[in-house]
């Protein structure tokens, strides 16, 4: 399977702490994206990182990509209660044919006030 696998499955932290989620995958990729899903809502795009990039930032979010280890991490700094959500990585395989992004099962983040 080309599916991205997030780790951990669930994470609980205090407000103000940093949260780190990891995504591992099995195939070569064109790009990898992170999405957030609040309970009962659709997914919202956070960051896209291409296979030739190693790190990207967006506000309090930092994404890294290590293609040699086939892994990516999402760091949320100074977390807030509003960051409570599920986070998904989605991989776009490099040899994509008849298929688009493949999503992992997600990490459920709880930020406690």
């Amino acid at each position: 399977s080309q599916q991205g696998e997030e780790d951990p499955q669930a994470l609980s932290i205090q407000e103000g702490e940093n949260a780190t989620m990891n995504c591992s995958y099995k195939t070569s990729i064109n790009n990898l994206q992170w999405y957030r899903q609040n309970s009962g809502r659709g997914l919202v795009h956070l960051i896209l990182i291409r296979s030739n990039e190693r790190e990207k930032h967006s506000g309090r979010l930092r994404v890294t990509l290590d293609t040699s280890k086939k892994s990516s991490s999402l760091l949320i700094t100074a977390s807030r209660a509003a960051d409570t959500a599920s986070y998904f990585c989605a991989i776009c395989p490099a040899d994509n044919y008849g298929q688009n992004f493949v999503f992992g099962p997600g990490t459920r983040l709880s930020v406690l006030p």
Binding site: Q33, G42, L43, H45, A90, C92, G98, N100, F103, G104
Partner: protein, 112 residues
């Protein structure tokens, strides 16, 4: 969810009945997708479209069909609903195949 609507938002139906879900976009994006989301599985692609009347199967297409007669509308049909199709269904759009996908609010379908 801006620019993408799904209807209905909730539906309860009985096994064996046909069901059609509608996705409507106002962004004029070429690609449209149907996913289902189930606990422990993330999102799984059912079908996608790369243009009017151009569609292809995804990972879990059995039991589903789609149609796209206009750029803005993508329909998902369950010809004869089964309990295993109880799920939350999401529509997504993108400008190009490997681009960012933008998701609709979802349709919760329960098949009794």
């Amino acid at each position: 969810d801006a620019g993408i609507t799904q209807s209905p938002r909730h539906k309860v139906t009985e096994t064996g009945t046909p069901v059609t879900l509608r996705c409507h976009q106002t962004e004029n994006h070429r690609y449209m997708y149907w996913y289902r989301q189930d606990p422990g599985h993330g999102l799984r692609l059912i079908h996608y479209s790369y243009g009017v009347k151009d569609t292809d199967k995804g990972e879990v297409s059995d039991g589903y069909s789609v149609s796209r007669s206009k750029t803005e509308d993508f329909l998902l049909t369950l010809e004869s609903a089964t309990s295993s199709q109880t799920s939350v269904y999401f529509c997504a759009i993108s400008e190009a195949r490997r681009d960012t996908q933008y998701f609709g609010p979802g349709t919760r379908l329960t098949v009794l």
